[in-house]
Symmetry: C2
Subunit: 321 residues, 2 copies
């Protein structure tokens, strides 16, 4: 590797994130020194992206950098936390400066957009693997958790679902789509938008929250399970983008909305007594979220259409007879 670890980190990352006054010491010493605001808890998440597992080999480097941070931003959003500082552990087969430059741009553009400072990291030679650790804070005791929901709480999801899975299928050459739909869906996979501002605003409204990384039905099920209840989703209410059914047809679009991963939307539960205040203070048209179902006492996560529970079979979701 022609550039030393230190030179790599220095050149590409040191000054490319946000500059923050609460960074007492950033990249360049044995560790970073950071100031958590008084009255706040520290929030910490880490996620790894591996080539061929989390993105197709040959993905645009800017997308890889963006997604490495975005998946962690989404985790903090799901806690209602404000992100602040990131550390990057980058394992690279070779120091390709063009690749690194684009990767750094993808990561640091998103970092600056969320006022996240890059405060440390480690660069090693090996198979391509990117681990980002994201740190942030939340007022003590106010974080959103998966396990706070109760039967009767209303379930919402932000944005639209299934787009990223369709975008990945397009990237992998497994799905053809009209040009406009194609561009939109690819972008949703390559450059997902973590819902950080919405997550922060949901404190005081939501009883539970999770980010949708593994698919809406699976993640709503995890929220329900952590809350010791079940989840009932309405098939007709799943929020779809226009391009998704344009590319896939309505039925397959709804299947991807339930089962497709990588959307990084927020799924959250709101107690009935908070609904009116939520809708008034965070208008759904502006904040882009949709009612998709309810938490209920019976365990498990189910999808309901016309009053009957649907079941997933090899051919997709079907009415359960």
């Amino acid at each position: 590797m022609p550039l030393s670890e230190f030179a790599l980190i220095e050149r590409y990352f040191r000054t490319r994130g946000a500059q923050r006054a609460d960074v007492r010491l950033g990249v360049g010493d044995d560790a970073a020194l950071l100031q958590v605001p008084p009255g706040c808890e520290l929030v910490a998440a880490t996620d790894t992206l591996v080539a061929g597992v989390h993105f197709p080999p040959g993905s645009p480097p800017a997308s890889i950098g963006h997604r490495a941070l975005a998946v962690n931003l989404s985790d903090l959003a799901a806690m209602g936390a404000r992100p602040a500082w990131a550390l990057l552990a980058l394992t690279l087969p070779e120091a390709d400066e063009a690749w690194l430059g684009e990767f750094a741009t993808g990561l640091s553009d998103l970092a600056r957009a969320h006022e996240v400072s890059l405060v440390g990291g480690d660069t090693t030679r090996g198979p391509l693997c990117i681990t980002v650790q994201l740190l942030g804070h939340v007022p003590a005791g106010e974080a959103l958790r998966r396990g706070g929901g109760r039967a009767g709480d209303v379930l919402f999801v932000s944005g639209t679902c299934g787009d990223a899975a369709a975008g990945l299928a397009i990237e992998q050459g497994q799905l053809a789509a009209p040009p406009d739909a194609r561009d939109y869906l690819r972008e949703r996979f390559l450059f997902p938008t973590p819902r950080v501002a919405l997550g922060e605003r949901l404190r005081g409204f939501a009883s539970a929250c999770i980010d949708v990384s593994d698919g809406l039905l699976a993640d709503a099920g995890k929220l329900a399970s952590a809350s010791h209840v079940g989840a009932e989703l309405a098939y007709a209410d799943l929020p779809l983008s226009e391009p998704l059914p344009a590319a896939l047809g309505e039925r397959r679009a709804r299947e991807l909305a339930l089962g497709g991963g990588d959307d990084y939307e927020l799924c959250f539960a709101v107690p009935p007594q908070n609904i009116a205040r939520l809708l008034a203070q965070l208008p759904p048209q502006e904040w882009r979220y949709t009612r998709i179902g309810v938490l209920r006492a019976a365990p498990g996560a189910v999808v309901v259409s016309d009053g009957t529970v649907m079941e997933f079979s090899h051919s997709g979701y079907e009415h359960f007879l």
Copy 2:
């Protein structure tokens, strides 16, 4: 992978680190919630171990787990910080439960010894790669940095140097040694001891500190460079274990003490006015550190023997004529 990510983390790591009251929420949600003590700064480090780069393929899994945490503990020790919480990003080619069990034991035994709680992580399938993020805290403004040294400050190093490099050479079959020396040196590579307690106690004595991961001369040079001074090390004063010269001979032992990596000792500078207090309050016999040189105005890091500067050539360190 027969076990899901969640089950893996649950089974091997959830309850195996220390239990801490300041962990408001640990493994199992989108992020961890942690309480930094009032008046303290947060300290954050991350280091990656890659198979074939940082350890020989086939290393004992307990050693890999131990070292993945130890290298980060050493970074926090160099800041004078107290470690508290770790996150683990583990990329594995397959879920070998025997391997995982030993890896987890190596990591969690060391975590408990330092009262570190495992609060989160991510498990992915891919080439073996371990990234640990370690978080801790230090009273605000009191952290040790690399850049605080001045000309005239005395340089010390903890423990003995060169042992781990010899141990690695033994592991790789490149060095034969008498059985006792062999066992000792291998242990020093496989299970290094981060000097966490010493680092914390050095606050208020040391002007600068760094951990010795790349070799004593290189790391003393980094400390000096960050402090805008130079370093002069005394060849005769390098602390050697008994087994190292027994395995290598005196001359090669001193070369490894200067150039060998992976010792994870602390190299620190102490202003002359603090020396008497240091020696009285942290007796060197008890705390195991040795005076090895001084910081000086002239830049660079040099080794001096009998009043002459030595130079490293292809045959090792030589007197410079």
